[in-house]
Amino acid sequence: MGRELASLLPMAEAPTRGETRHLLLATNVALPGAYAWLTTVGHPALARGVSGWPRVTAYGALLALAAGALLLGRYPRVARAVGVIGFVALCVMTWVLIEPRLDPERLDPVRAACGAVGWALFALGWGATERFRPIQADSDDDGTRAKPLAARGRLPRSAVIAMGLGLVAALAPWLAAWQVKRPEHALFAHGAALAAAIAIVIVASRVAIEREQRPTRPAVRHRVRPAMSSLSALAFVLAAGVVWLLLR
């Protein structure tokens, strides 16, 4: 184990070493994986009326996850194969075997959202282990990986606030889509919400960053005039909406 440990990259920013580091890594992949398993695999597979095979594959997935976490320090490649590929394959097998229970009409939106978050954290947890991979040929001469490029500057607090507001605004239609009950409409709602969320995030990032990057502020008229067509159309549509509301 000592040789394997020596081949792992030193984690300069973390004070932890040896077994403690491995425990942290194992926890980092095991906890999100267990959460994803519990919300999206364990719950439907262990419900009443489910036959034996889905339970076998579900427990197998859990075992693969545990094995991957335990082997991470000693055999990183084997751990990745078992903990990622094995775990995901067994989860997919479970879902295939209990397919009728995964009908969209039966899915609980909250649990589905929690499961999505769990799988995202699972992926991030395994991604974090990449820092501990054995030293590759593209490393620097002294055996360490090249230092990341330093940022040229820091974004001001107003940019962070603008981006935060944009993210909240993008989250709102996405959450509203989960409230749609009818399957056909729900699919369309999710598509529209996703497109809206992407557009909002893109514009919010521009608002947050580009206004700080301008070397000179353009004259006000140069900013308002180009937007007049959109603002006029917006005013017209809003006025039409008010008239429509009054006439309805």
């Binding site: 239609p173 809206a196 308002v224």
Partner: protein, 72 residues
């Protein structure tokens, strides 16, 4: 270079326009939310209305943020 020499008052207006851009982005989120909820209730015309409003709000925000080079 009109952009290089702007008064302090105009700078304040510029800041207000930046704030308006953020307000427009947040408002577009609200409009899209109403649109998605209208999809859920089956009110297609209302859904289309709110989605168009959201798109126009976003477009206005982008155009105010990044003026076209040919703008006079």
């Amino acid at each position: 270079m009109a952009a290089a020499q702007i008064s302090g008052e105009e700078q304040e207006v510029n800041k207000a326009i930046d704030a308006l851009c953020i307000v427009l982005v947040v408002a577009s989120g609200g409009a899209f939310t109403f649109g998605v909820r209208a999809i859920g209730t089956g009110d297609d015309l209302l859904a289309l209305y709110w989605l168009v409003v959201g798109a126009l709000l976003l477009r206005a925000a982008v155009e105010m943020l990044r003026p076209r080079s040919g703008a006079k």
